[in-house]
Amino acid sequence: MSIDQLDAAVATVRVLDEAGELVDGTERPDSTALLAGYRQLVHGRRLNEQAGALVRQGRLAVYPSSRGQEACQVACATALSEGDWLFPTYRDAVAIAARGVDPVDVLSMLKGDWHCGYDPARHRVAPQATPLATQLLHAVGVAHAARLKGEDTVVMALCGDGATSEGDFHEACNFAAVFASPVVFFVQNNKYAISVPLARQSVAPSLASKAVGYGMPGVRVDGNDLGALSTVLGEAVERARRGCGPTLVEADTYRVEAHTNADDATRYRTTDEVDEWAGRDPLTRVSAYLRGVGALDDDIEAEFAADADRMAARVREGLGVDVAPDPDELFAHVYATPTQQLVQQRAALQGEFDVEEA
């Protein structure tokens, strides 16, 4: 199905079904690329599990898990080329890691060290956005600037189903469409905004169908189907790079865990619902398919798992180190040059330390 077909916004693009069978009428995905993607899925799942464990051990204050959404996380990162930008939310640690940022640097924010633990300019990954939908306009700005500078950068802008209700979501879509900005808006519709179900966000036929109102293509894709996601996001990225403007892609997926560890999801949804979605796991269908075509066996599976375990060990080690917070940092970065008042306040704080030491 082509992105530009109108019904793409309501029908759901699929490549592999829950059992890992090729959906009728679709092209066979490239096994090598899918295997590479599967390795990332295994890593992503492991990262979600490791971060959750670190919260339980008190090493991280909080973790918004993307368990069940790993296919979305991996596909949006791998659809991009070297010079492209990713604009993630708080739930997209796995996507950021899949872009090549050290997971320790991604998670250190949740340890409370600083607001952002990686260099956004070096990695072309914006700081994880907490105020919902606000980052989407920045994404449009980065894309527009790239166009004005004659660069062929594409920007992948992420948000959740809940965030599509914010005014900034609409403004970003409209700006991008009007300026034909090279942006892919990728909405992970995981059915909940904390406790609030999708039905309270929108009664549109789909979130992707909102694209019509802005004059851009919208596509709804099975968010637990790595093959389908890679195809659709790949096409959207190429479209943007060719100068054809933005695309709105909605992934039909599910937040398998609570909003964060601080949330109690049993207060607002049934375990039956969760179990049903757990049965549509994004990892199992890929492994089933790859095994079916002979591209995956126990040895490769074991190698991927061992790799992921090494990554998890590095994460534990990296986040196990307590870096003494440097109070100078409170004042150092607020302005390019600290104001006179900040210099005085820094000195006053130093004075307190001197007294304590004496």
Partner: protein, 328 residues
Amino acid sequence: MTAKMTMAQAINSALRDAMTADDSVVVFGEDVGPLGGVFRVTEGLTSDFGEDRCFDTPLAESGIVGMAAGMAMNGMRPVVEMQFDAFAYPAFEQVVSHVAKFGNRTRGTLRLPMVIRIPYAGGIGGVEHHCDSSEAYYAHTAGLTVVAPANNTDAYALLRAAIESPDPVVYLEPKRHYFSNDEVDLAAADSTIGRAAVARKGRDATLIAYGPSVPVALAAAEEAATEGRDLGVVDLRSIVPFDDDTVCEQVKHTGRAVVVAEAPGFASVASEVAARVTEHCFHYLEAPVRRVTGFDIPYPAPKLEHFHLPDTARILDAVDELQWEEQL
């Protein structure tokens, strides 16, 4: 008639009692329905009063506040929740351009009796955007009433008063105290907006605070007492309207004042208090009024917040600098 309850429960009781007393009181926002709010402040309201009286909205703060304004125009008394201080900013346009100004714009024919509840300030080790002290933005906007309870009894009383007020009220909840237990006397609570309370009488100097800084000021006064200094504490309760009388009476009595607030001090509520006290009590003052506030920085990451927040040591240092030697 006293009962032991947390601040979250006191606010919940105020909502319940107001909803029972007046059918036009409706509660809405993000996750306030079946979940009962991320801090459980609205727990049980949907099940007890029905979906029309307490409901979740689409996720949009401008939408929530704007719709509340319209409902207030049409005879209802909406009480809306902003999930966290910094997440109220998308509603800023509605708050500043309309909610605050409708009464004045229409020569008083259209008043907006609505309450915007905002869990605010820090001390919870929250990630960025979850710990802002945003009171100055609201206090600076004429037409808004701004209250900040410091204890559970006031949390109840001020919310009841806010809901009954003919004007829009920004009701700031010191989120770090949501789960602190306290004896609450609902019947005896002072539900007058615009009146400060003398939280502790003192002879030597007056600490002036509001919201989450009141307990810190009280602890500082406690500590000072062991060192032979008798500090009084005024709890503003209401930032707008401001109770010049109570504040000045206490300061005139002691001749010394320190204002304590967690927000950055520059162009802040603390600065307004210091300026007012200086203007009104100049001839009674033994020393310039001091401010103990947060630094002029964005709210720090969790591991650094203890450097930023005013603590008893910083308050007592400021008290020490109130030119005591000249008394000798």
